[in-house]
Amino acid sequence: MLTHVEWLALSLTAKLALTTTLILLVFGTPLAWWLSRTRSRLRPILEAVVALPLILPPTVLGFYLLIALGPTGPIGGLMTRLGGAPLAFTFAGLVIGSVIYSLPFVIQPLQSAFSAIGERPMEVAATLGAAPFDRFLHVALPLARNGYLTAAVLGFAHTVGEFGVVLMIGGSIPGETQVLSIAIYDNVEMLNYGRAHWLAGGLLVLSFCMLMVVFIVNRRFIVGRAG
């Protein structure tokens, strides 16, 4: 069925998507919470920054990342001076790129889930003796659980579907930066349409199934809430 290189591409894609999603969920939670609660004038600026990857061509993002992560760029240069290697064309570089590229797909569902909770349950929890972090952990998080599911699936699926950014900053090194979308592109370039069909079809089915899960769960959530 799959060749060794294709297996490498598949597992690398899964690893990249999982790492990216986890990082985004952990660091996105405080940011999404802050965005849902703040009245600061900085909020629209931050919201615009978070939404930028939605509309920017991946090549633009990839281009700036390439410069920043390369040996002469601010981040790549710092890495070199610290005795490391520049991040362009490495897995770590891909993770940084993916985190930025998929940021809105995780932050926005979390932010709207937190906003939908409103102030009242948090006030109720306070009158019942729950301190701020206790309230967040035992009221806000469980009430936002569907937002977390949506954020996780969208973040994961969007990272799996990433192409332009990877092409710009990762290239196509098997086992290091050659993800599925790149492998498909390489196959098409070499006119291996049979192999491309396998990978493209698999990715299509997988993405469809993940989105189905999100919509089924969200629907049940809405119906359950009305009760």
Partner: protein
């Protein structure tokens, strides 16, 4: 023990300027039109409303003072919101345990009322395993009240807990709130704009208008003060606490004692010695100069005219003192003149209808 509070809250164009001193026992109703600041006052007492420079003391415990503010979650208070606000992600039992667990962690022991007593008091035993979404409006509000009580509060704050409910459901929940009053010793601040709820529940009344406290005092005095809006209109009334003296089985009557005499009402299934609250509408009380002998009216008692106020062009509202108990009578101005009523005059009051509230 007293509850003392002083708050200045500004929200947009609305200002609450409230200085308050009420007994920290029994039920104190905070009464006023919508928009008068009742909820804001209650939220300020809970610590949910930022109000720099405020002051709040309950008994010997200071919750707020200059540069000192106990956060909401460290105040031993229960808060029942207007809409039930149960946690949707927890079962009924999970909701009840939420505050109880945290109170036990903080205080180390169970509250004045245990879990099973509280559940029984509010009649929610059978609801415990249910999901919150499966409850009716009345059940939700009863669970909310139980949840607030299990937090082991020193003060229970209730913000119009019956307002969102239809009439039938209100009558379902009201008796449970009355039981809090008779069976627990936790002081209650009860926000309402419904005069009938206040008449049934309150011992003490705070009257609020446009963010200012107009008057405070015991409920019977407040309802009969002619300078306050409560003593006007169709529903002007007096409240009287009476004690069940005996039953008359032959005629199917119950006799109730109060300081100025004895009331006779249709028989009610009440224990001898039980306390009841009676309501007499001003328009049901007529006055005579001498005790009527040949009349069908049974409830006649002597009183002294204290004050006479106008009620429109043709009516007068008379406040009577019946051995210390204030009673209102609404009569025509013509009758006032005919009987020569002036403050200090001795009269007999005849009540043609008396309602038992609890």
């Amino acid at each position: 023990m007293m509850l003392e509070a002083r708050f200045h809250v500004r929200r947009g164009s609305f200002r609450l300027e409230a200085g308050l001193s009420v007994p920290a026992h029994g039920v104190t109703a905070i009464f006023g039109e919508s928009g008068s600041g009742k909820t804001t006052l209650l939220r300020a007492i809970a610590g949910l409303e930022a109000n720099p420079g405020g002051y709040l003391r309950i008994g010997e415990t200071v919750w707020q003072d200059e540069g000192f503010f106990v956060p909401v979650y460290r105040r031993a208070l229960g808060y029942v919101f207007q809409e039930s606000s149960l946690f949707a992600h927890l079962s009924v039992r999970g909701n009840l345990e939420f505050g109880r667990k945290r109170a036990q962690r903080a205080g180390g022991k169970d509250g004045a009322v245990g879990f099973s007593e509280t559940v029984e008091l509010l009649g929610i035993e059978s609801l415990l395993p249910r999901a919150v979404g499966q409850l009716s409006g009345g059940e939700r509000q009863r669970v909310s009240i139980a949840r607030a009580l299990l937090r082991n509060p020193r003060l229970l704050l209730m913000d119009e807990p019956l307002t969102g409910l239809d009439l039938r459901t209100r009558h379902e929940v009201l008796p449970f709130i009355e039981r809090l009053h008779t069976e627990l010793s936790i002081p209650v601040l009860y926000v309402s704009h419904a005069p009938d709820e206040v008449a049934r529940l309150a011992d003490y009344l705070v009257l609020l208008d446009k963010g200012q406290i107009v008057a405070t005092g015991p409920i019977d005095a407040m309802l009969t003060r002619l300078d306050l809006p409560l003593a006007h209109g169709d529903q002007a009334e007096a409240l009287i606490e009476a004690v069940v003296a005996s039953h008359d089985d032959e005629f199917g009557l119950t006799l109730l004692d109060f300081p100025a005499g004895r009331f006779t009402v249709p028989k009610k299934n009440l224990r001898i010695g039980a306390s009841v609250r009676l309501r007499i509408l001003a328009r049901d009380v007529s006055l005579t100069l001498e005790r009527q002998a040949n009349t069908s009216i049974l409830n006649i008692f002597p009183a002294t005219v204290e004050e006479i106020g106008s009620e429109g062009e043709s009516q007068n509202l008379v406040r009577l003192n019946a051995n210390g108990i204030p009673i209102l009578s609404q009569i025509t101005r013509k009758s006032t003149v005919a009987l020569g009523l002036v403050p200090g005059k001795r009269v007999f009051a005849q009540a043609k209808s008396i309602a038992l509230l609890a």
